[in-house]
């Protein structure tokens, strides 16, 4: 068991290192660098930067050095827990991400909770009452949920919110609370803004979970052990919850690995559309501006989360499913 853990840990570190190199290379791939992007952006607002000024800027940011020098400089900083300066923001990367990390986590957790609260009862109900009216209705809704891109739902909800309810458009806070220190009022303000984006984020996921879970439960329901349980005289709800549902949960446990990075990055597109102050838009902006320190750190963070998440889901699976334990 211990050897297994150590082996996994070493593998994880190696994976992270590979991720860091890949990240850096990918960010360097597109033509130009932060300064080119910066100049292009200045030009689109009518300012000009001469070639000499551009060289000045490159020297300032150390972009005139070879890629591998830049990489090791960044790696050196990262190992000391300092990820450098976010060029566009002129603030340490840690601070820029830190500001948004908490909100991103709150939002994503809310979305996950919404998903599960909605999805589990519906899917179990659908499976048990297969081909009933309600099953058809939920199936229909689930397919709509799967088919409609959720950024479109976000746009439409935002437009209706504006046209009919005069709602504050986008964001997670009203302007007066956006920068305020945490207080009762600010939390309440967040609570008022949270449901819309969380719901939008949850919709697609709910539909997916409903479909998968329903199929899983249906498979299990037909197995002989269910008939055995019933014949033993167990109440129906215990039959279903104790056996088929428990087995049907396995696929979800194994996807927790992907849940963690998701909690950190949120959904890039939804956050953009709804103007949410999360890590998603930050990543996109960093990539567009070719700010490799910021983008690199976020991608590295996502990579680390995936690695950690996978590890946790392995452990959970062992804990919840005796069959895995036996094989392991």
């Amino acid at each position: 068991m211990l050897a297994f853990l150590v082996r996994r840990l070493l593998m994880a570190l190696l994976t992270l290192w590979a991720i860091s190199i890949l990240t850096f290379l990918i960010i360097q791939l597109p033509p130009g660098d932060f300064v080119t992007a910066y100049i292009a952006q200045l030009q689109s607002t009518g300012s000009a930067v001469s070639a000499q000024e551009a060289d000045n800027l490159r020297a300032q940011y150390g972009l005139d050095q070879p890629v591998w020098v830049q990489y090791f400089k960044w790696l050196g900083l990262a190992l000391r827990g300092n990820f450098g300066m976010a060029m566009e923001w002129q603030r340490p990367v840690i601070e820029v991400i830190g500001d948004r990390l908490l909100l991103t986590m709150i939002l994503s957790l809310a979305a996950v909770l919404f998903t599960w609260i909605l999805a589990f009862p519906i899917s179990i109900f659908s499976a048990v009452r297969q081909y009933s009216f309600w099953d058809y209705l939920f199936t229909l809704l689930a397919f709509i949920g799967l088919a409609v891109p959720n950024f479109l739902v976000a746009l439409i909800l935002m437009y209706f919110g504006f046209s009919f309810f005069n709602a504050n458009v986008g964001g997670l806070f009203s302007p007066e609370y956006a920068d305020a220190a945490w207080s009762g009022g600010r939390i309440w303000d967040l609570m008022k803004h949270l449901p819309l984006p969380a719901l939008v984020l949850a919709l697609g996921g709910t539909a997916q979970v409903v479909r998968v879970m329903r199929a899983n439960v249906l498979d299990e329901l037909r197995k002989p052990y269910v008939a055995t349980a019933r014949s033993k005289g167990l109440p129906e709800w215990r039959v279903i919850l104790n056996h088929p549902v428990r087995v049907a949960l396995n696929p979800f446990i194994s996807t927790i690995g992907y849940l963690l990075p998701y909690i950190v990055s949120g959904s890039v597109i939804i956050s953009l559309v709804l103007s949410l102050p999360t890590v998603g838009p930050l990543l996109l902006k960093a990539l567009l501006a070719q700010d490799m320190f910021l983008a690199g750190t976020i991608v590295l963070l996502l990579g680390a989360m995936t690695v950690v998440g996978t590890f946790i889901s392995d452990l959970l699976l062992m804990w919840i499913d005796p069959r895995v334990r036996a094989e392991g």
Binding site: P30, P31, G32, D33, T36, A37, Y38, I39, A40, Q41, Q43, S44, T45, G46, S47, A48, S50, A51, Q52, E53, D55, N56, A59, Q60, G62, N82, M85, E88, Q90, R91, P92, D99, P149, F151, L152, L155, I156, M158, F162, N166, N168, V169, G170, F173, P175, A178, D179, I269, L272, V273, L274, S275, L276, P277, P281, L284, K285, L288, A289, Q290
Partner: protein, 735 residues
């Protein structure tokens, strides 16, 4: 109730969704994630945009008759309005007349008594602030507001897109350069931070007089020492500034700056440089003011008493190292940069009407009044009237536009999308704002810049360098169709020439010269050039027998205008003259890289900034490495002939010589030279104009009905930092 409104809403909604669906998620992302200045109209095909233009007439009609007579106009007919050109373009009603505040420079007319904002008066009473007369000094800047003497108070709400959008704040709350432009007569110089200037020796000596008693926002006096500190310790420090500013030298010889006394400075140049006065008044050059240029170690002055603590020369290495560590930057250059950045460092003393209190790298960039601002109105009330400016972060431009539509901004033009004019109009009452358009002064929002130094394909290079070929291409463009489709009919079709009101405009006839639709003439010209061979589809063949003549139009995604769609429509129009264009859309950085590597044939971009031809000729002539009309020739011009490609076209040589001679001439002669350059530019069409003089870039403006003293139209110019030119310090909220 009017049944038209829901229809419009639905249309708009459909349009939004069709845009998104047609463009696909990623296109949307690329468009809206872009830094300031991008719009999201950049997806769907021309047809969607065409349908977007159709609601405009009815929306405008309903705005002009708010009583809501639904009859008659309820069905917007695109055919009726787009067929006939000119005439009754709805958008024209939204364009006001140029107006603005007046500077009072006659000391006899200066106010004798001064007053201040109530919040400051309290501080004075409490003994925490010196009296107002002491704060503004004996030489205040006196501004007569546009309409009325204002009331103090209020918060001006705006939206911005992140720290890269810092111009957003500079444009409203900045404006600390030595000289300024006249709000009513751009590009005429007026005083600002300096009270006066004198040009002597035919422009070899320029003396600038500062205001006595003017103070930094922390109460320290502003003197020539702050200018000399910048010049000697910042500008001439090789760590901070590695390459000197071109604008501070004439004929390649740098000028010098000396202090005459505490309130007088003097520039000396080896040869005449009267145009330097324009440099002192422009925001884009080296003397653009510490607010906007301090982050680049430029600007013309810096608060010595504050900034010296971050300067190598004034503090010991140990102290500096401690400060570097504290600020978490890697070296003293970046420390100095960070501390001298107006929008990031709330502690930096400023000379602007407002100062940053919450920096631009947070979700709400906040600015509050500078109690020491040296400007007063004609009644002696210290400016600014408005207490506070807040800018809320919008992660994407759709949200920013929707917030503007919801009336969440008190005045904003930046980032507002021309394609949404109908929706802005529809919601004017609900949002309690007024929509107005400020057409820009540059002639082309989309110019086809023909690379005169292209070399990769000799056949294409030959044609691009042929005047008749370029003119034929120009005659093949149906500018009215472009205008109706992409500019909602509010642009002006024609050549790339600057607006008729500009002193540099050579004459009205140049607007249409070589720049009207004339398919027959275009075909005749092309036939005459020997391009007579056509293939089965009617396209002309290359003269070297290598198949069809295909010309590449390079466009950039996520720009102010949907350049790709515009180019596609031009491609369709060119079918009639047998020319095939390949529209190639690239991402912005790649676009710049390709251009500088001389790989573009025709570069599609706006010629903004060309309203001041001598300060920013980049988009008119091949004079820099980022000029679409010939980056290699630009390199040659910039390097003084040591690298790049020497132009062979005598007209280019002539134009570049004219450009170079301008700086040494007085204003009158310079104006004439400017006109000569424009004549050449239109005669030769190195850049082919399509539609311009439009509000597409920062000219679609919402103004709260509560806000007063805002001009119905102001000059929409880059180096005037519109609306800064109109002195936002005189804007105020009515009760």
């Amino acid at each position: 109730m009017d049944d038209r409104v829901p229809t419009l809403r639905r249309r708009e909604l459909l349009r939004v969704s069709s845009l998104l669906l047609a463009g696909g998620g990623m296109a949307f992302l690329a468009a809206c994630g872009g830094a300031p200045g991008t719009t999201t109209t950049a997806s769907s095909a021309p047809s969607a945009a065409a349908s977007a233009s159709s609601p405009a007439p009815s929306a405008a009609a309903s705005a002009s008759s708010p009583a809501g007579s639904a009859a008659g106009s309820s069905r917007p007919s695109a055919a009726g309005s787009s067929g006939s050109s000119g005439g009754n373009i709805p958008g024209k009603d939204l364009v006001g007349t140029i107006e603005g505040p007046t500077l009072i420079t006659e000391p006899a007319q200066f106010p004798k008594q001064f007053s201040e904002a109530p919040s400051l008066a309290e501080l004075v009473k409490a003994g925490k602030l010196p009296p107002v007369a002491e704060r503004i000094g004996q030489d205040p800047l006196v501004i007569k507001p546009l309409r009325a003497t204002g009331k103090y108070g209020g918060t001006w709400r705006r939206g911005f897109t992140g720290p890269a959008d810092n111009q957003n704040g500079h444009r409203v709350a900045g404006g600390d350069r030595l000289l300024f432009w006249d709000a009513k007569a751009y590009p005429k110089n007026t005083p600002n931070l300096a009270k006066d200037w004198k040009v002597e020796d035919e422009g070899k000596t320029i003396t600038v007089y500062l205001r006595k008693g003017a103070k930094w926002s922390d109460g320290q006096p502003f003197t020539a020492n702050d200018i000399m500190f910048w010049y000697e310790d910042v500008y001439n420090n090789t760590d901070l500034v590695k390459v000197k500013a071109v604008a501070l030298s004439v004929n390649g010889k740098p000028g010098t700056l000396t202090k005459v006394d505490d309130f007088t400075i003097q520039f000396k140049f080896e040869s005449a440089y009267p145009m330097f006065v324009d440099v002192l008044g422009s925001s884009i050059a080296v003397f653009g003011g510490n607010a906007i240029q301090g982050q680049n170690f430029m600007g013309g002055f810096a608060p010595k008493h504050y900034m010296q603590q971050f300067h190598q020369k004034y503090v010991s290495a140990d102290q500096l190292a401690a400060k570097i560590a504290e600020a978490k930057v890697d070296n003293w250059v970046n420390l100095f940069k960070l501390k001298n950045t107006w929008h990031l460092n709330p502690d930096l003393p400023v000379m602007t009407p407002w100062k940053t209190t919450n920096p631009a790298n947070t979700p709400t960039w906040t600015l509050e009044r500078n109690p020491y601002y040296f400007g007063v109105d004609d009644q002696g009330n210290q400016l600014p009237y408005i207490d506070k400016i807040t800018m809320t972060l919008a992660e994407n431009l759709e949200v920013l536009n929707l917030r503007a539509i919801a009336g969440e901004y008190d005045m904003q033009a930046r980032h507002l999308d021309m394609g949404k004019v109908p929706v802005f109009l529809e919601n004017q009452q609900k949002g309690n704002y007024k929509l107005s358009l400020d057409p820009a002064s540059h002639g082309a929002d989309a110019a086809l810049m023909c690379n005169q130094g292209y070399a990769a394909d000799p056949e294409i290079a030959k044609w691009l360098a042929t005047k008749e070929f370029r003119i034929a291409l120009s005659h093949g463009i149906d500018r009215n169709q472009l205008n109706e489709t992409f500019w909602l009919g509010v642009g002006t079709p024609g050549s790339p020439v600057v607006t008729d009101d500009s002193p540099y405009n050579p004459g009205k006839e140049y607007r249409t010269k070589n720049s009207t639709l004339d398919v027959q003439k275009a075909n005749e010209m092309l036939d005459k050039l020997g391009l007579t061979q056509k293939d089965g589809e009617g396209y002309r063949q290359r003269s070297d027998g290598k198949g069809r003549l295909r010309i590449e139009l390079q466009t950039i995604s996520g720009s102010f205008l949907p350049f790709t769609q515009i180019a596609e429509m031009i491609n369709q129009q060119w079918r009639k003259i047998g020319i095939q264009a390949d529209v190639k859309e690239v991402e912005r950085s790649l676009g710049t890289t390709r251009l500088q590597a001389n790989e573009t044939q025709i570069y599609v971009w706006q010629n903004d900034g060309s309203d001041n031809i001598f300060l920013y000729p980049d988009h008119v002539l091949p004079c820099t490495t980022s000029s679409g009309t010939g980056p290699e020739i630009g390199k040659w011009f910039q390097s003084g002939g040591t690298s790049g490609k020497k132009p062979t076209d005598p007209q280019i040589v002539k134009a570049l010589e004219l450009l170079a001679s301008g700086s040494s001439k007085g204003p009158e002669e310079r104006t004439k030279i400017g006109q000569e350059i424009w004549k050449l530019a239109v005669d030769e069409l190195w850049a082919i104009g399509t539609v311009g003089l439009s509000p597409a870039a920062m000219g679609v403006r919402v103004t709260s009905n509560k806000l007063e003293n805002v001009p119905s139209r102001h000059f929409n110019v880059q180096d005037g930092q519109t609306p800064n030119l109109s002195r936002p310090s005189t804007f105020f909220f009515k009760a």
